[in-house]
């Protein structure tokens, strides 16, 4: 066996996958603009921003529940009943535990991390599983599920002769592929897989295709 076959071949190729061959959706050569689609340039798909409904609903629920609980207990005390046990013990703990108490520190760390997480949620787009596609119409927005894009790329890699198994990791900037090679020279297979992935990326027409494609090809065991 050649030495090449015993070692995984690892290369990285840089360059945008967004080459000239990747037209905008619906702008194949010779396509005439249809009605309602002015022949303007490519609209770079916006990344969709989540409305953050679930975290907002959770925070709203917690705040509402706490306010109602406290309200009910305050009113109970006003009409002459005694305060609930949770309120007296909470007041007692808050009034007796010093700041260097371990539970106060743990609580403060949890509260600070929760706050940081909420700030991150507020500032980031979210919806990381939805990859925007290029469109030719500003009123049309399309996204491709990340899992679907991964499956399409995997199928493209598997169509290369000699590849018996392919795993794809599609990040936002990087596409990493690993191919098990059953026959043929891994170097050639790697080059073929790389160009097959490039072609498939063009076909997917992602608005922000990964800039780097790295392919590892290694001979499959047995």
């Amino acid at each position: 066996m050649k030495r090449d076959l015993d070692q995984p071949v690892r290369t990285e190729q840089s360059g945008t996958a967004d080459g000239g061959a990747s037209g905008a959706v619906g702008r194949p050569a010779g396509h005439t603009p249809g009605p309602g689609q002015p022949g303007d340039g490519v609209v770079r798909g916006h990344r969709p921003w989540s409305a953050r409904r679930i975290p907002a609903a959770l925070i709203a629920l917690v705040v509402a529940a706490a306010a109602v609980l406290l309200l009910v207990d305050v009113v109970r005390v006003r009409v002459g009943r005694s305060a609930a046990a949770w309120r007296t013990s909470l007041a007692h703990e808050l009034a007796t535990r010093p700041l260097d108490d371990v539970w106060v520190r743990i609580g403060a760390i949890v509260v600070a991390l929760l706050g940081l997480w909420l700030i991150v949620l507020a500032l980031t787009p979210g919806l990381r599983r939805r990859l925007p596609l290029k469109t030719s119409d500003t009123d049309v927005r399309a996204v491709l599920d990340r899992g679907a894009a991964t499956l399409f790329l995997r199928d493209a890699a598997l169509r290369v002769p000699g590849v018996s198994r392919a795993t794809i990791h599609l990040g936002r900037r990087r596409l990493a592929a690993r191919a098990d090679v059953r026959f043929r020279d891994p170097d050639e297979v790697r080059a073929d897989v790389s160009s097959a992935l490039r072609e498939q990326l063009d076909r997917l027409a992602l608005a922000r295709p990964p800039h780097r494609i790295s392919v590892r090809a290694r001979p499959s065991r047995k």
Partner: protein, 202 residues
Amino acid sequence: MKRQSVINRILLGLAGLVLLGSGLVVLAGGFNLYERRNLTPPDGWPLTTPGAVVISDGTRTRWTDQGWWWPVAIAVLVVIAVLALWWLLAQLRRTHPGRLRLGRPSAPADGVELNERALGDALAADARGQAGIGQATAHMLGTARHPEAHLDATLAPDTNPAEVLQALCDGPLTRARQSTGHSDLPFQVNFRTSRHKPRRTE
């Protein structure tokens, strides 16, 4: 960005700032940072020594003997609870156009109306007829004046999403726009694909 997204994000960010700030103040006091770093906190800054407590009995009962305290406390709690419930309900509510008026938006008000569900079903059925699309469901969001069409479509394996999207725009979307008169009806497509075994044949 949508208005709801902006409101949610501002409120989440404010809640995050409050939590992060109070957590950091307690930690700074608990680890005695002010003395170790020779910092002098501003006058009235709370919780500066490790021996301090978060809410002392004195702080908690400072105003309880004042006549205004309990009515104000109860009113503030009611306001907080109502606002939080309103925010919660806003998350559960989605705006639907209800009925779409056909024809140009400036057409007379007694025109023909179309149920949003009818349009969604027609759009989905039309989309399912396109090559490369397995399943499709569509629904309308937005308001009656500014409706938006949303389509969830499952792509068959070995399809070209770019071409399918173009076919959707040329076919079902254009027909929906022409038949409703909303010539710039916004269209949002979510493409998925069904899980499938690796396949090598073209």
